[in-house]
Symmetry: C2
Subunit: 450 residues, 2 copies
């Protein structure tokens, strides 16, 4: 059974009564992944004590690795510089890089200097790779063998690797230049006679990635080929590191959050329990931008103030046109950005996607336009009002489909995140076109609308 | 290197010239996961030939397992009943269940009858579990050992399991009642001396799930504890099956798509390259619902027709209030639904989330309201218009935060999908409140606005 997450209440009571030994025992029985969420309910002093207890148990590094982002600052502060450096020294280099990035600028140097020379060099090398690339998430702890080794010798080298053994899923066969030749799944090793050589056992030409590849692409490859780990090699085939499936799961979750967030104009740090201060600071620029774009749409309405003066009831239909435009645009946008994220769509097939969404938009516009036209006719008794609404919804939803599919593809083509900002562009243009069509055609038919 | 995806052109040319032998060779060199996307570019006759060739290579089952949903119908049709049954017989039971579900009703019975008795029984058992539950995604192929077995005997039993060996990551230690006692990671087995018993090697009390648990919860557990597989046991602890990490990755991707889609009112089958017909059929009901809700918002405007008649320029600000309302609501909604999906928020902490989003909404409303008020004052020279706009944006965005956080939590509390329909409820109410505040306060201050 998953460890029942103990109510933080027991822990708080133990801490309050100074029963640190019992608190340490309790913590010792909790999976590191469950300690993080628990800390969310504690005060700063209590967090400090818990971190202290975990440090003594040599478990602080697992806590750091598992901690939700919003608690990281507090916990790293609770550890002093030298302790933090000691804890970081026990983690794998990709985890260290992530944690160092989360440190305030002022503290970063001090911590880096206290790390072992070897670690410092590895971190420098990691920083050469672009953000969110394979090079940043790979671990450099793996077992490399040569082709002539027998299965029995390979097993021996796994035993010798000690602690590391627990994370081994594949063994990598390399030549004298450390060039990747093949991969032996540990399951295959176990099932094979002990005198077979690694060269015989290995799967040649394994799927691999270069360190510059985006982590999202790595995740797609791992998901596509059902891998447990993927080796990272440079252009010459030299083995540099390995990306394991647990990191890939984190990437998939992170990227899905990013896509949803970007569609809504949110920053990744803005989580459900982030302090309101942070949420406001992160959302305000986007809200101001949104204000600018809705004013743009409003200025289209302003062009027709004269028409509205003559027939004020037209204003009633502005929320109808705007609301339908927004919904249609978001649907086309969601289908397209998700298709891009899942690798189902490339720029070459983009035209097909745009055509499809435009056709769908046109059809949905015709169907809802007809309903809306009949309702308007029933309400006003004027067939021309119905016609104007029908035309507006057809045009609006056609553009909603067109923009919703084309904008993320265009953003991707110019090297931008397809989701970021797409929402605001699509809704602004669709709204503007919708209002233009509605008020424009109403102006032309004004004599008949009365 | 990942197999370079061969342009479907080569394959088409080989098929067109009747060079089936060479086409079969080409297919033989392509990873099953890459064949699916390739089929998307082929016509129905070509698909039939490719499926025939793969069937002869005994590789059709891998194709079926990897195929994108929209191609599944065509490919399963291309295989006759008896062949399809033969192919299904070679797959694991969770895959079979998924494929059988995708068959048209009329054909399902005929196929099921042709499956081996054992498989039919297993499928019946699977159907007892709720949709999207652990019981539906688990595989029943796993290796169970008893505590007294030595490491060497365990290795022997892996060798004996043949084909299965390739998917073994953990060995499950069970007692005489098939009750799960512990788990031995295969990595640990390899690294241990051959005379150690499984009882000594096993990690006792492993994390497990019951078959009724939702697949999303299973994915969260696997991600949280960095597992490669999780055992499924009934309430008595009897081992029923295993869920592996590759299935978990599919679940995570699927659930992320579902959340994004539900927020936008889309159905999961509506993918970027689905036929327009399907997209229209799936989106139309939602569009009609949306029409109904925007008419509701419009009817709030209709209440104030008299006010608009006296001051038609108020209509210009309707898109501003509506646009800001929509954006604020979607942001609060996205943060909250994502928090629910990632398990960061429970109903008990829901009040905190709602409070936070309400405060954030209030603050964003005050900030953008102020900007908007100053602009309106600069444009009209009337401070009261500025005040009305300030008030409207404060009220609207406060409600947007409140509804955006509260609606998904309320949906979850009554056992519904938190994302489904939340978008339409939130935007309708927020729009309606926004228009009410704006036109209501404008009506009260009408004398001063001129």
């Amino acid at each position: 059974m998953a460890q029942p997450i103990p109510t933080s209440r027991i822990l708080r009571r133990l801490l309050a009564s100074g029963a640190h030994g019992r608190a340490a025992n309790l913590l010792g029985r909790i999976h590191p992944a469950d300690v993080g969420p628990l800390l969310g309910d504690l005060g700063p002093d209590e967090i400090r004590t818990v971190v202290e207890l975990l440090f003594r148990q040599q478990r602080a590094e697992n806590l750091l690795r598992e901690l939700p982002f919003e608690l990281l600052g507090d916990v790293m502060e609770a550890l002093g510089d030298s302790r933090l450096a000691e804890v970081l020294g026990r983690l794998e280099v990709d985890d260290v890089a992530e944690l160092v990035d989360a440190l305030p600028e002022t503290r970063r140097e001090a911590i880096l200097e206290r790390l072992p020379q070897q670690r410092q060099r590895e971190l420098k090398r990691l920083e050469l790779y672009p953000a969110s690339s394979a090079g940043r998430v790979m671990t450099t702890s793996y077992v490399a063998l040569d082709e002539t080794m027998t299965s029995a010798e390979a097993v021996e080298s796994i035993r010798a690797s000690g602690d590391l053994a627990d994370s081994i899923l594949y063994l990598y066969v390399v030549d004298e230049n450390h060039c990747l030749r093949g991969v032996v799944p540990i399951r295959r090793l176990v099932a094979s006679p002990s005198d077979r050589t690694c060269g015989e056992l290995m799967l040649p030409e394994p799927v691999r990635v270069t360190p510059e590849v985006d982590q999202e692409e790595v995740a797609r490859i791992v998901a596509r080929y059902d891998l447990l780990a993927v080796p990272v090699t440079d252009a010459d085939g030299t083995l540099l590191g390995v990306i394991t499936v647990d990191d890939v799961i984190d990437v998939i979750t992170e990227e899905a959050t990013e896509d949803m967030y970007h569609l809504a104009g949110l920053s990744e740090e803005d989580r459900v329990f982030s302090p309101p201060r942070l949420a406001i600071r992160k959302r305000l620029p986007w809200m101001v931008l949104n204000l600018a774009t809705v004013i743009l749409a409003a200025s289209v309405v302003a062009l027709f103030e004269h028409t509205l003066e003559q027939m004020v009831s037209l204003a009633l239909f502005l929320p109808v046109v705007g609301g339908m435009a927004g919904n249609g645009g978001i649907q086309a946008l969601t289908v397209t950005t998700r298709g891009i994220a899942l690798g189902e769509i490339e720029f070459s097939t983009g035209i097909r996607a745009v055509t499809k969404e435009t056709i769908v938009g046109l059809s949905l516009g015709a169907a809802t336009g007809l309903i809306c036209a009949l309702l308007a006719f029933a309400w006003s008794g004027n067939p021309y009002l119905g016609f104007v609404l029908f035309l507006s919804l057809v045009v609006t939803l056609t553009f909603a489909g067109l923009f919703g599919a084309a904008v993320p593809l265009a953003l991707k083509a110019i090297g931008q995140d397809p989701a970021l900002g797409a929402g605001v562009i699509v809704t602004t243009f669709t709204d503007a076109f919708g209002f233009l069509t509605f008020l424009g055609s109403a102006t032309l038919l004004l004599d008949r609308l009365h």
